[in-house]
């Protein structure tokens, strides 16, 4: 096992990078970070639409969220892989395809986290803001959202963990992320599949376990700092 790590660790981390495209663990992290950063604004907009008082906005977005959440991520990736080129006319590479699929998929899940965050706040917050003369948009932006987003922080870290796990599905469209690289190492070494996939599992574990402990710590810390009113905001736990 140590021998494999010794021989292949650079390849495992960055793929063929200086001589070829970036890959491996670095690509996994890059994809997950870009995915979450891009999905967050979209998720907030969709979440706001889900709780908006206007039906013409709420219904289509609710439908979208239900459809995306009812489909496996793999299905979303396939749609992106085969339809982006035919719609845009440009052949998108695997990274872009995967990024777009992740953004669409995560935005739907984040929308539900945002919705739970907003609905978890006491009704009085919105009513007070309106009574003070703010219109709906401003009351949302200045009073409700800042509090809701704060209580969402631990869920966001958890969503990042999910996104890291989701990037592994790039494997199926040949994206050179860490699972794909592990399989390539496996075909080169040939005789030690169990060790190689244990190393892969261990790598994901260290990364995701560390992050999920961080989310747990954050939750404790936010709860201690007098966030008692946001405690009822139970954002749904999401799984990949």
């Amino acid at each position: 096992m140590l021998e494999i790590i010794n021989d292949y660790w650079v390849y495992f981390l960055i793929g063929q990078y200086p001589n070829g495209p970036l890959g491996g663990l670095v690509l996994t992290l890059l994809l997950a970070s870009c995915g979450l950063v891009l999905a967050l604004p979209l998720g907030i907009v969709l979440g706001l639409a889900r709780v908006s008082p206007w039906r013409w906005l709420r219904w289509p977005v609710t439908g979208f969220v239900f459809v995306v959440r009812g489909l496996p991520l793999l299905m979303v990736i396939f749609w992106a892989y085969f339809f982006l080129p035919s719609v845009t006319g440009v052949k998108t590479d695997q990274f872009t395809t995967m990024l777009i699929a992740l953004v669409v998929f995560d935005a739907a899940y984040l929308a539900e986290i945002v919705r739970a965050g907003i609905q978890g706040l006491p009704r009085g917050q919105m009513e007070t803001a309106r009574a003070l003369g703010l219109d709906y948009g401003r009351a949302m932006r200045l009073v409700v959202l800042p509090q809701a987003l704060r209580s969402m922080l631990p869920s966001l870290v958890n969503q990042f963990v999910s996104t890291i796990k989701e990037t592994s599905l790039g494997y199926i469209i040949g994206l050179a992320e860490v699972s794909f690289i592990a399989t390539q190492i496996n075909t080169q070494v040939f005789t030690k599949p169990a060790q190689i996939y244990l190393i892969l599992g261990l790598t994901y574990f260290i990364l995701c376990f560390g992050l999920s402990r961080f989310a747990y710590w954050l939750e404790r810390r936010l709860a201690r700092r007098g966030m008692s009113m946001a405690n009822s905001a139970s954002a749904p736990k999401v799984s990949a």
Binding site: F78, F82, V161, S179, A194, L200, Y204, F205, S212, S239
Partner: protein, 231 residues
């Protein structure tokens, strides 16, 4: 060539392939669910056990499984694990449907970790006095669990378990990477044979969505039929 060729999906060879894929996906769902539930119950009880080493065992199981993507589990159980077995068993395994068995093992172990946490929080939602009263009446740990705590806890646990079943249903699609001929795999096959990607993926999406919405509907029905009781 028509824009959307329904006939491809309604009859013929490709229709049969897609339907066979859907049936296999449903079989994966059923087999994994049946295996995952008892494992989850055992792990949840381990996590609540009065003995520290057993608690640690449960914790280790849940955290290791949950923090590794299902894809990596599948690859390990398909490519890695059989290599570790003795030669005779290996031969016998490779002669059968090893990819389907690997997928079922990966799916059940993965789902069980999530379900164990749901069952555990269901048990913890039951006031401790219930447990204490059971013990005071002379029941042991396991009898108190079985006769007093679990019957109440499972009622609270069913909705999250249904939502884990939904995740499991979507996760069956990942079995395609190790070559299980389920719905996603068949959709890919039909796509590459006919170049009608829109039709084959539309069929697969509609099938996934139908089952997903049926599971969501089941959750809603349960919520109305058995509302949460406040004790």
């Amino acid at each position: 060539m028509p824009l959307f060729d329904y006939s491809l999906l309604l009859t013929g060879k490709y229709h049969d392939m897609l339907v066979a894929g859907l049936l296999l996906s449903l079989q994966l769902l059923a087999a994994s669910l049946v295996l995952a539930l008892p494992i989850a119950l055992v792990v949840a009880l381990l996590r609540l056990s009065p003995l520290a080493p057993l608690r640690w065992l449960g914790f280790a199981y849940v955290e290791t499984i949950r923090n590794i993507p299902l894809l990596a589990h599948m690859l390990f159980w398909y490519f890695g694990a059989p290599e570790l077995l003795p030669e005779g068993i290996k031969q016998w395994l490779y002669a059968g449907h090893i990819e389907a068995y690997s997928a079922i093992i990966a799916l059940s172990l993965y789902t069980a970790a999530f379900m164990a946490e749901d069952i555990r929080s269901g048990i913890r939602a039951i006031p401790t006095v219930q447990f204490e009263a059971g013990r005071a009446l002379g029941f042991g740990f396991l009898s108190t669990m079985r006769r007093v705590v679990l019957p109440q806890a499972l009622r609270v646990t069913v909705p999250p378990l249904i939502s884990q079943t939904l995740s499991l249903w979507k996760n069956t699609s990942i079995a395609t990477v190790i070559g299980v001929a389920e719905l996603m795999y068949q959709a890919g096959q039909v796509e590459s044979a006919t170049f009608r990607s829109f039709e084959s993926f539309a069929f697969a999406s509609a099938a996934y969505l139908t089952v997903s919405l049926a599971i969501t509907g089941l959750a809603t029905w349960y919520h109305h039929r058995f509302p949460v009781r406040t004790i």
